[in-house]
């Protein structure tokens, strides 16, 4: 069996990537997941700018995870200058992260991944053939985006978030509107679970290392310590002990690994690591959808995204209850500019996101490092492909291509994010 497979600009993912695979007589001679997205050089852009511009600039790393980048950036600045946000601020940020995870997961499972299971090239023909499904997806996505709009102006490049608090504090009326939006998703989420019960994920298993934040209080998305099974959780500031990155000649995104091993981050990693903290409704969805942690099937990342979507809605409703039990105060935490190094880690929809800044005594950024979720998954995707190819090698070439593209897509790669930064040159 000899195949030359070259998937140029894999579609229905965010950003530009190619897959090159040469199979000779049944063995893989060459395998490269090439990330060809243009590097943006945010690390260069930030150098010399004032710290309070960083959330604004780094939001532009990615339109899909703009709230995660803004949050990680804010947290890095706050860590560098010892700024403690109020409890209300943290509750609101958690609602925003939940909303972003929800909108991103719905976008992925319905609009990007689902066409594979219907044998079509995109969601567009499904507007005519399956209007109920498409409209349900769009309603859910709209609800998540509307939560962001009400709280911070918009989802793509949020406006109201700030270091130490919010530029514009949401009103009680805003919070009521957010509650209404989240409650309105219930029938569509019920239907979503029913619908995905009928979708069968391909069977493929390969155990790997799952990394995510972990908290002893909750399902960790906004905050927590870094966790990989088998080692005690560590503070995010020590992330370099857990994750190393290397430059790959064919990829403008670096590859991350943990020790010698490839790693997986994102919804499946989080569900595997923190299942016990999911709300009951999400656990029930996991049970109905056949997701039993730890799952070693990367295609189940799609299902983990559905499960997390349920969790994010219910968790936000609980957070709103907590917020309504206290009055929203307008005061922001005091910002006293000082020199320091800060790491902000947050669970973006696709996995753990790190921003690290070195800030001088005038508040000017001198060093930057960011590690983006997709960069952490790239090596794992290659390893999965290497392991999966022998199991599908007898299929016709177009089916092999389709199956591999589905595998890449299951990771929901966000490539325009992953080519952005790296390297650390900190001023001593």
């Amino acid at each position: 069996m000899t195949h030359d497979i070259h998937l140029h600009h894999i579609t229905r993912i965010e950003g530009h990537g190619n897959l090159v695979l040469n199979i000779r007589e049944g063995t893989i001679e060459e395998l490269r997941l090439e990330i060809v997205e243009s590097p943006r050089f945010f690390e260069v852009m930030l150098k010399g700018r004032r710290f309070d511009e960083a959330p604004h600039i780094t939001s532009r790393i990615c339109g899909i995870c703009a709230i995660s980048h803004t949050t990680a950036s804010i947290k890095a600045c706050e860590a560098a200058m010892d700024i403690a946000p109020s409890e209300e601020t943290v509750l609101l940020r958690k609602i925003l992260i939940n909303a972003e995870v929800l909108q991103s997961h719905i976008l992925h499972v319905y609009l990007l991944a689902l066409p594979d299971f219907f044998g079509v090239g995109s969601i567009i023909p499904m507007v005519d053939t399956n209007p109920d499904i498409v409209r349900r997806a769009l309603r859910l996505k709209r609800a998540a985006n509307e939560v962001c709009r009400v709280l911070v102006g918009r989802h793509v490049h949020p406006i109201g978030m700030d270091i130490g608090g919010f530029k514009r504090l949401p009103t009680q009326k805003d919070l009521d509107e957010v509650r209404g939006l989240l409650e309105s998703t219930a029938p569509d989420m019920d239907e979503t679970i029913r619908f995905f019960e009928g979708i069968k994920m391909p069977e493929f298993n390969r155990a790997t290392r799952y990394i995510s934040l972990r908290s002893k209080d909750e399902y960790a998305l906004y905050d927590g310590r870094l966790y990989k099974k088998g080692i005690p959780p560590i503070e995010p500031a020590r992330y370099k002990e857990l994750i190393t990155e290397e430059v790959i000649e064919y990829s403008t995104a670096k590859h991350a690994r943990s020790g010698d091993e490839s790693i997986m981050v994102g919804a499946l990693a989080r569900v595997n690591n923190n299942y016990e903290y999911l709300c009951d409704e999400a656990k029930e969805a996991a049970r109905r959808l056949g997701l039993e942690p730890p799952s070693t099937n990367p295609f189940m990342n799609n299902i983990a995204q559905v499960v997390e979507s349920i969790h994010c809605i219910h968790d936000s409703l609980k957070l709103l209850d907590l917020l309504s039990s206290r009055s929203l105060r307008g005061e922001k935490s005091q910002i006293k500019v000082k020199a320091g190094n800060g790491v902000g880690a947050v669970e973006a929809p696709r996995g753990t996101l790190y921003h690290e800044y070195d800030i001088d005594e005038k508040g000017v950024i001198q060093g930057v490092n960011c590690i983006i979720p997709t960069a952490q998954n790239l090596l794992n995707i290659e390893e999965d492909i290497r392991s999966m190819v022998p199991t599908i090698i007898e299929l016709p070439k177009n089916e092999i291509e389709q199956r591999l593209e589905m595998l890449v897509r299951a990771y929901d790669p966000c490539i325009s994010c992953s080519t952005h930064f790296l390297e650390v040159k900190f001023v001593e």
Binding site: R12, R49, G63, H157, I159, E423
Partner: protein, 245 residues
């Protein structure tokens, strides 16, 4: 015949494309009226028979120049879609640093991805027929814009500044409160969304026709902003940091 549309992405965060998805329910009615033939983020098909090309992102690699030129040859109408395409956007910020430091600072070596070039706007490379401004684009403006193209009405952008929209929202002027804001020189059409959420207008939609930059600079100087600070704000999206102050 539905007009055929291609959406193409160069160096950017792809957030403007996402705004098209974010039309949500209107997206379904949009595709009744137009046909997307090439939209990599959304679909597998890659058609070349588009009449209207939306170009997202800046040009920052040699290889992107040829791709853009070939799109220009095929498209009857080409639109610079969003601030990166229109103005260079945040991608301009790397141009403020010496080019020979870019690759080493990110990849720690100089021999990879050497076709990286200083950020160019789309109009620096090919003729542009229309501009859809903003970082990100405003999804309602996009819808109106596409409707104009379908009805063959000349699409128009507001030619008044953000201040007009900001006042009509009843916002208290940020500059009067001692904050910087570029609303007075920036093209409206965003419904003053940033000042409404208490953030300064950073000028992502580009300059209004006949902007009175000098007057704004004088006011900001009076408010105590330094020349460097003002230059830095003017440079953020617009690439105006070389301006004489």
């Amino acid at each position: 015949m539905k007009p055929k549309i291609g959406v193409f992405s160069f160096t950017s965060c792809e957030g403007c494309q996402l705004q098209v998805f974010n039309l949500e329910e209107e997206f379904a009615s949009l595709i009744d009226q137009v046909e997307f033939v090439n939209f990599r983020e959304a679909m597998s098909e890659k058609g070349e028979d588009y009449q209207i090309a939306f170009i997202e992102g800046s040009i920052t690699r040699e290889s992107e120049i040829e791709t853009l030129k070939s799109i220009r040859e095929k498209a009857e109408i080409l639109i610079a879609f969003g601030a990166c395409a229109h103005l260079g956007g945040v991608n301009n910020l790397k141009n403020l640093h010496p080019m020979d430091g870019w690759l080493p600072s990110v990849y720690n070596r100089k021999d990879l991805f050497t076709d990286t070039i200083p950020t160019r706007r789309i109009k620096d490379v090919v003729p542009v027929d229309y501009v859809m401004p903003g970082c990100p684009i405003d999804k309602c403006e996009f819808l109106r814009f596409v409707q104009s193209l379908i009805l063959k009405i000349e699409p128009r952008l507001p030619d008044y500044p953000v201040c007009v929209e900001c006042r009509s929202k009843g916002n208290i002027c940020l500059v009067e409160q001692g904050k910087w804001c570029l609303g007075s020189i920036t093209r409206a059409g965003c419904d003053a969304i940033c000042p409404t959420y208490k953030d300064s207008c950073a000028g992502c939609r580009g300059l209004v026709e006949e902007p009175n930059i000098e007057s704004l600079v004088n006011i900001l100087l009076e408010k105590g902003f330094s020349k460097d600070e003002i230059r830095s704000k003017l440079g953020f999206f617009n690439g105006l940091e070389d301006i004489e102050i």
